[in-house]
């Protein structure tokens, strides 16, 4: 697969990108990888198209460049089910790996507990990107499936809840309680007699983020 990165001028002040929006994170990774490789700072180890970069080197470099900035370190555990491909490099203990949400979930190595950096492309005057590169992982977000214990337990008649969430696009427990006429407590309390259908449903809700309640 050809790199989507293309330098517009000699100083490398702008880039153009030709790909769908789904590859934004891959693009960001490749920008970082290409910059580092070009500067001779690091020999990039690309696994399935995703670059693994040592954070120590990348951090130094990112301070000097206008294109990428560090948002905050995010522990890998928060990405457990979000489709992060993680492989240990030979040189350092901590590495950076950013990839899109379209990566297969099975490729996650859940045993690793390393720090990741989420970084974001800064929008510049000459930035050729038109696919929303400012979007990135949410700091503090959890993309994991809901836990099966002490979490949101779906019952047989909960297809209507799925329907409500589909209608609203995203919803909190308060929305579901209001629309279904059931109490929040009733929605949260788990049942010991789970059926096959329920277990299929259980995985269909994703905890997207923990947000401060406005009220």
């Amino acid at each position: 697969m050809a790199s989507p990165l293309r330098t517009e001028n000699a100083s490398g002040t702008s880039f153009s990108f030709r790909d769908s929006g789904g590859a934004c994170d891959l693009f960001k990774t490749r920008i970082a990888a290409s910059l580092l490789v070009r500067q001779g700072l690091f020999e990039c180890d690309v696994v399935f198209g995703h670059a693994l970069l040592p954070i120590s080197i990348l951090s130094k470099y990112l301070k000097a460049t206008q294109y990428l900035r560090i948002i905050e370190p995010i522990p890998i555990s928060r990405y457990a089910a979000s489709g992060v491909t993680l492989r240990k490099s030979r040189q350092c203990g901590v590495f950076l790996c950013i990839c899109g949400a379209g990566v297969k979930r099975g490729s996650v190595n859940r045993r690793r507990r390393m720090c990741l950096l989420a970084f974001q492309t800064c929008r510049g005057k000459n930035h050729g990107n038109k696919c929303g590169l400012l979007r990135t992982f949410l700091p503090g977000a959890t993309n994991a499936l809901m836990p099966t214990k002490n979490g949101f337990q779906l019952q047989d008649r909960d297809i209507e809840l799925l329907h409500f969430v589909h209608e609203l696009r995203i919803a909190t427990i308060d929305h579901l309680a209001a629309l279904s006429g059931r109490s929040v407590r009733a929605l949260w309390v788990g049942s010991s007699t789970q059926t096959t259908a329920v277990s299929r449903l259980r995985g269909s809700f994703h905890a997207e983020a923990r947000l401060c309640d406005r009220t």
Binding site: R135, L138, L162, V165, A178, L179, H206, R210
Partner: protein
Amino acid sequence: MQKHVYAIGPEGVPILIESGHAPRQLTERRLRHRELTEIGIRHSLFVADIHTRMILLTRSGPIKLVQWQEGSALWDSVVAREGEPAIPVRPDGYLVLEHAERPQGKNKFHVFLEADRSTMSHERMAAKNCRIPRLLRATLPRPANIRACRRSLSPRSPRRAAVRGTPGKASIP
């Protein structure tokens, strides 16, 4: 207080289709809930608040919510004056209310929703409100009586608190 935000996951899609709650085309779409930013999530939750309120208020009574639409299907642009660049029009939602007690042909109210979480300046909000009537005037075959009706429903406003406190009594604007 922190709360989880839920979205339909990949396993929920076939169940929704099986139960007839979603079209088959849903399987072809990519789920992009995870790509929302924090601001985007807060904004979407605010829209979901309004949607929920509308569903609840129209469950009983003569007014029914017959359509609710969000997303890129609503996006358009309008050229205000010749030679000027096109202005994007991206409402947060489009809904149709139907009044059962009014005569046919005059019983539907089409509403474009522009939700503001008190993060937008008044000038920008006013400019946004002007764009949809402009777009409609430019696209409709005959001149229509269009008004930009602004209802400020800020998350922190006393009005919102009042509406929240009296779920059955709030009137639809």
